[in-house]
């Protein structure tokens, strides 16, 4: 058991989670009515879905290998797949069902693909669906979030010597604690890295650092006690 490695992994994982949550396109309740950009759910629900999928793929890989990079990246890929399918399905419903095109509400032109957004935006709304830049931003966010979650999981399994089942649920708990603090920093909706709210990130990083520090010290108590108990 390496106390320092547990602390480093949980704090780095928590900070990556925080950045990842800020990058996900979250629309909240307005997006459910098609009047805001992003996926129509809350920040923590979306990040929880991504984290659970990421932890699932990470734990599947952790059974066969103990390579930290393989485990973490497989977690990241699981999260990316989940978010990609969610955003794609949302876009299909918006375009084919509601009949509105994916448009960003914060920028007039897409910063990456250069598509025009302003002419297609319904007046008095804040954009619709998930446009190109938010999709890319969401994928980067899911990569970071899944990587962070899998890193926490890896440290619990291989450094704290916990059972894989307990490591999964505790990693989910730590992930949620960080994701919710980041969600409070965002406060509602965010489109991605081009959103002005993304500049609030340093505050959330400081908050998540403190939160991860508490969780890591709790985990150290568990790991130390379990090693004494011989389980």
């Amino acid at each position: 058991m390496d106390m320092i490695l547990i602390f480093i992994c949980i704090i780095v994982g928590g900070l990556m989670t925080s950045i990842g949550v800020h990058l996900m396109p979250v629309g909240g309740a307005p997006a459910a009515m098609g009047t805001a950009t992003g996926v129509a759910t809350g920040t923590n629900m979306l990040s929880t879905g991504a984290a659970v999928t990421g932890l699932f793929t990470a734990s599947a890989v952790a059974v066969i290998t103990s390579n930290i990079w393989l485990v973490s990246i497989s977690g990241a890929v699981g999260s990316m797949l989940m978010l990609a399918f969610t955003m794609l399905a949302g876009n299909l419903i918006y375009t084919q069902g509601t009949g509105i095109v994916p448009v960003s509400g914060r920028v007039a032109k897409d910063p990456i693909t250069g598509r025009d957004y302003l002419p297609y935006k319904t007046p008095q709304t804040d954009g619709h669906a998930t446009p190109d830049v938010s999709f890319l931003s969401g994928e980067i966010g899911a990569f970071l979030g899944g990587f962070g979650g899998a890193l926490i999981f890896y440290s619990l399994v291989f450094y704290a010597d916990l059972n894989m089942a307990i490591a999964g649920i505790v990693a989910l708990g730590i992930f949620l604690a960080n994701a919710v603090l980041s969600a409070y920093n965002i406060g509602g909706t965010i489109e991605g890295f081009h959103d002005p709210k993304f500049k609030l990130l340093p505050r959330a990083l400081l908050a998540c650092f403190v939160a991860s520090l508490i969780c890591a010290s709790f985990i150290c108590i568990v790991a130390y006690a379990v090693s004494l108990g011989g389980i």
Binding site: M45, A165, I166, I169, L176, A211, I214, C215, F218, A225
Partner: protein
């Protein structure tokens, strides 16, 4: 305005009184692991009630991200503190009951720091954030400990590991306890939100979790499981009926659509 007997009973308890009563009772129930499963389930319902009241107090000010986030935070923090407390008895030779106390102290410290971080760093304008967070994380920890204790018979780490975590019940406990705390206020939210209705809904969800735990327990312990299912089923039916009646009484008017038989 005539009020139900149930609602009058709950109205007697202010938020502070309810918090003290539920936390003390749940802690005492959690410490004595030899109590029957029914008593532990009642402690579990009380712990969830305490959490739902805290969610109501905090979310009243508006969180900006929806009410579910705070319930998830409570259980995310609670599960870490609960496992730390469950494993803590390995550190001492004697005094295994200290595990619950350690869990609660850790949860209180964690909740306090979370509340301070949310207020000072994230600049959330919620005056009750710190006290509410402490109450919420303690409720989350107690509900995890009590629910594990119902299934495993004790909350010691090795027993919980085999009976609750490896069987996957921890997922059910996690999400149902979170649901019991976050759902009542999320469902009753609005200008016409009344405390008694919100808390009755939380009792209903808590008894639903006890019912599920009874289904899990009946394969190991027939008598305890059967009693647990019967008692929590009765509590569930009563609280559900009271909730529907309160909703109808507190609504301006109840109009039937004709599709289903309208209750009067």
């Amino acid at each position: 305005m005539s009020e139900d007997v149930e609602s009058k009973k709950i109205d007697l308890f202010s938020q502070r009184n309810l918090m003290i009563i539920t936390i003390v009772l749940s802690t005492i129930i959690a410490i004595f692991t030899s109590l029957p499963a029914v008593v532990k389930a009642i402690g579990l319902i009380l712990a969830i009630l305490c959490g739902a009241d805290a969610v109501r107090t905090i979310a009243h000010y508006g969180l900006g991200t929806g009410v579910p986030s705070i319930g998830m935070l409570a259980l995310g923090m609670g599960i870490t503190a609960a496992f730390a407390g469950m494993a803590a008895p390995f550190l001492f030779e004697e005094g295994a009951y200290l595990g619950v106390i350690i869990s609660i102290i850790l949860a209180a410290i964690g909740g306090c720091i979370y509340g301070l971080v949310a207020v000072k760093v994230l600049k959330m304008k919620i005056p009750v954030m710190v006290s509410g967070m402490i109450q919420l994380t303690i409720a989350g920890t107690l509900s995890i400990i009590l629910a594990s204790s119902v299934l495993a018979g004790t909350w010691h780490f090795d027993a919980v590991l085999n009976a609750v975590v490896n069987t996957g019940w921890i997922g059910v406990i996690f999400i149902m306890a979170a649901m019991g705390m976050l759902h009542p206020y999320n469902a009753c939210l609005g200008p016409d939100e009344k405390r008694n209705r919100t808390l009755v809904l939380s009792i209903e969800l808590g008894s639903l979790l006890s019912l599920l735990l009874g289904v899990g327990l009946i394969f190991n312990d027939l008598v305890d499981g059967a009693i647990l299912i019967a008692v929590s089923g009765i509590i569930w039916v009563i609280s559900y009926v009271v909730f529907v009646k309160l909703s109808m009484k507190q609504a301006y008017e109840v109009v039937g659509t004709g599709l289903i038989k309208t209750l009067e």
